[in-house]
């Protein structure tokens, strides 16, 4: 019985993870690098909403909108100042730059907002009960709906709008998109703006679900990567599936941890383990398409490893 309650908690968690994972997947698809600063963009979004709430007289919705505007701007500035200059430099140069961005963002938040734990000024609402199970409408239902709603909206945007088609074209084959008249700069700017707004939404939902700390985003970064890789990089539906899998394992892990008195911190090992298994057997993820070097499976790895250990002159 209690397990279904944990399933609800896990679903809410998966909604939050999904919001972050969509942004990671977008940047990975269009800009072709793993953005290590994405967790800290979430943190920044969460704190900007808090700042906006204070600025505009305590209205949470206005605060969130303010955060979206700021983060979209930050995303575009990052593209103009840093990542736009790192095109054609392979996947690692922008990755290192994003580590630098992560350090800067996290410590700016430390500096401005202090390391104290903070909370949004939202009213405390009674849980809604469904028989023996409960869900808090603000701390649980809103993140859940926001996460899967955003995924659906992004799916529709990518499929049916002109911008979405341009983004998919740029992700698929940049040169072809460019020669076909797609304005790639505009695509990059909108990708960054979209990913940053999604990060802000994820940060706000994470803050709503728990509380705000300067490391809140960095600690979920690994889970975001795990969700994206599980589902398949570049696939929105895949990210949703990855986040859902992580949410369900969350629901399975917590009762286990409590029963056997294992620290709940260990939960991080579960998405990590799933990610490593996926990289071994199906590097392109559950719903992704095998492209490039990611098409080789574990058999090649093992054969090469065998040769490496027992020797084969070459």
């Amino acid at each position: 019985m209690a397990d279904i309650q944990f399933l609800l908690i896990g679903l809410v968690y998966s909604g939050i993870i999904l919001l972050g994972a969509l942004g990671v997947s977008l940047i990975y698809g269009v800009k072709r690098f793993a953005n290590f600063a994405h967790g800290d963009l979430m943190t920044l979004g969460a704190y900007m909403a808090l700042f906006g709430v204070g600025l505009f007289g305590g209205n949470m919705l206005v605060g969130v909108l303010f955060s979206f505007v700021v983060l979209a701007f930050v995303g575009i500035v990052l593209e103009v100042l840093i990542f736009g200059r790192l095109e054609n430099r392979g996947p690692i140069a922008p990755l290192i730059a994003s580590v630098g961005v992560s350090l800067v963002l996290q410590n700016v938040v430390n500096l401005v907002f202090s390391t104290q734990i903070k909370n949004y000024p939202v009213p405390l609402v009674d849980n809604w009960y469904f028989g023996p199970f409960f869900l808090n409408p603000i701390r649980g239902l809103i993140p859940l709906v926001a996460g899967y709603g955003a995924a659906l909206a992004l799916l529709l945007l990518l499929r049916f709008t002109k911008l979405g088609k341009a983004m998919r074209a740029a992700a698929d084959n940049l040169d072809l998109a460019r020669t076909s008249g797609v304005n790639t700069r505009a695509v990059y700017f909108s990708t960054w703006a979209l990913a940053s707004v999604l990060a802000a939404a994820g940060g706000v939902m994470l803050g709503l679900n728990t509380d705000l700390t300067p490391t809140m985003g960095f600690t979920v970064l690994l889970v975001l990567f795990a969700a994206v890789i599980l589902g398949g990089i570049g696939s929105v539906a895949g990210s949703a599936v990855g986040a859902l899998v992580i949410g369900i394992t969350y629901a399975l892990f917590y009762p286990f941890a409590i029963q056997f008195n294992v620290s709940t911190q260990w939960f991080l090992a579960v998405p990590f383990g799933l990610m490593v298994l996926m990289l071994i057997f199906r590097p392109w993820g559950l719903l992704g398409k095998p492209v490039g070097r990611e098409t080789r499976s574990v058999l090649t790895d093992l054969r090469e490893t065998f040769h490496m250990v027992f020797g084969r002159r070459d």
Binding site: I96, V99, V298
Partner: protein
């Protein structure tokens, strides 16, 4: 002074390990702190006397292996065992994480090592019977211990670390000039071309990755001996990884001398920063601000280096394996 030398040398060994992976092999290891921590804990567990009984809530840790090995004069032989164990275990973890990821695009390795470091850190903080959980491990021995003679103990330890750094530097300089190092750099520059020429790029990358991890384990062991205690909460954080990254980046990727120089300069700045505020009498409230500003500065330096000096301040020197032999009457070597 001895303190400064010891710490810089430990950083320099870490930097050489990372330089071998990144500078020569082109592999981005985002989990340096994890391999460092494995080394430190392995060495600590292999060298400490039996853990003190459960007093004042201290849970105790796995230990007592230190007594199995004899003490020759002032020299603790268990220290060598600890170093060996640290290198082997760090190498094993490096191998396990490299098997699924080295074949894929470079950033998978970064993501996987980042995750591995996080999980190692969580494990060290929670695996109480072995690592004492949240508590420190105490009374880790120094290689040369002269009870009561503080200066002599510190100076001999610095000398010990300097010797190890010299040996490591010499070996790796030789390795990078060898055919092995040459092929490794070829793989870094163009993996497909190297494979077309029949080089097993996976094996080469694996070897350099595992050796780099072993070096990080060695640095971890030395760090444990140096500090005598290790703290799972404040040592070995993701920030340490980024520090080492900055060291290697500033020093110049693919340049061991640069990496060592980078380590010394970087640690000097760090050391100067922490002491300057005592000398200048800066109020305590400013010191946390100073730390955040330092981190922001490191982030900015990383970004600027990637943008404008991708090869570091001291770029990789051209290397020749051996003098090209000039064959009289024929075509020249090389």
């Amino acid at each position: 002074m001895a303190f400064f030398v010891s710490f810089s040398c430990i950083y320099a060994i870490l930097a050489i390990g990372l330089d071998l992976q990144w500078g020569y092999g082109g592999m981005f290891n985002a989990g340096v702190a994890g391999f460092w921590a494995i080394g430190a804990y392995t060495a600590a567990i292999l060298t400490t006397p039996p853990s003190p009984p459960n007093v004042f809530g201290y849970p105790g840790h796995l230990g007592g292996f230190g007594l199995l090995f004899p003490r020759i004069g002032a020299f603790q032989t268990s220290v060598l065992v600890g170093m060996g164990g640290a290198m082997v275990l760090a190498a094993v973890f490096g191998f396990l994480i490299a098997v699924p990821t080295l074949r894929l695009r470079e950033d998978y390795l970064a993501i996987a090592t980042l995750g591995l470091a996080e999980i190692i850190s969580i494990t060290l903080q929670n695996w109480q019977p072995v690592t004492a959980g949240m508590f420190d491990i105490f009374s880790i021995p120094r290689p040369f211990d002269f009870p009561g003679q503080f200066v002599l103990t510190e100076v001999t330890f610095s000398a010990f670390v300097v010797v190890i750094l010299a040996v490591v530097y010499f070996l790796f300089e030789r390795m990078s000039r060898s055919p092995w190092g040459r092929v490794l750099r070829a793989v870094r520059e163009d993996e497909d071309a190297a494979m077309v020429l029949g080089k097993n790029s996976f094996a080469l990358k694996m070897q350099s990755f595992v050796i780099g991890c072993a070096l990080m384990g060695l640095a971890g062991a030395l760090f444990a001996y140096f500090q005598r205690t290790i703290d799972p909460l404040s040592d070995f954080t993701a920030l340490d990884t980024f520090f080492i990254w900055t060291v290697v980046f500033v020093g110049g990727s693919g340049n061991h001398k640069g990496a060592i120089a980078g380590a010394f300069v970087f640690y000097f700045l760090f050391w100067f920063g922490t002491h300057a505020k005592d000398w200048l009498g800066v109020p305590a409230a400013w010191s946390t601000v100073a730390i955040y500003v330092t981190y922001i500065g490191i982030g900015v330096v990383l970004i600027l280096l990637v943008l404008f000096r991708p090869r570091g301040l001291f770029p990789e020197p051209r290397k020749v394996s051996r003098r090209p032999r000039i064959v009289l009457g024929g075509r020249g070597g090389s």
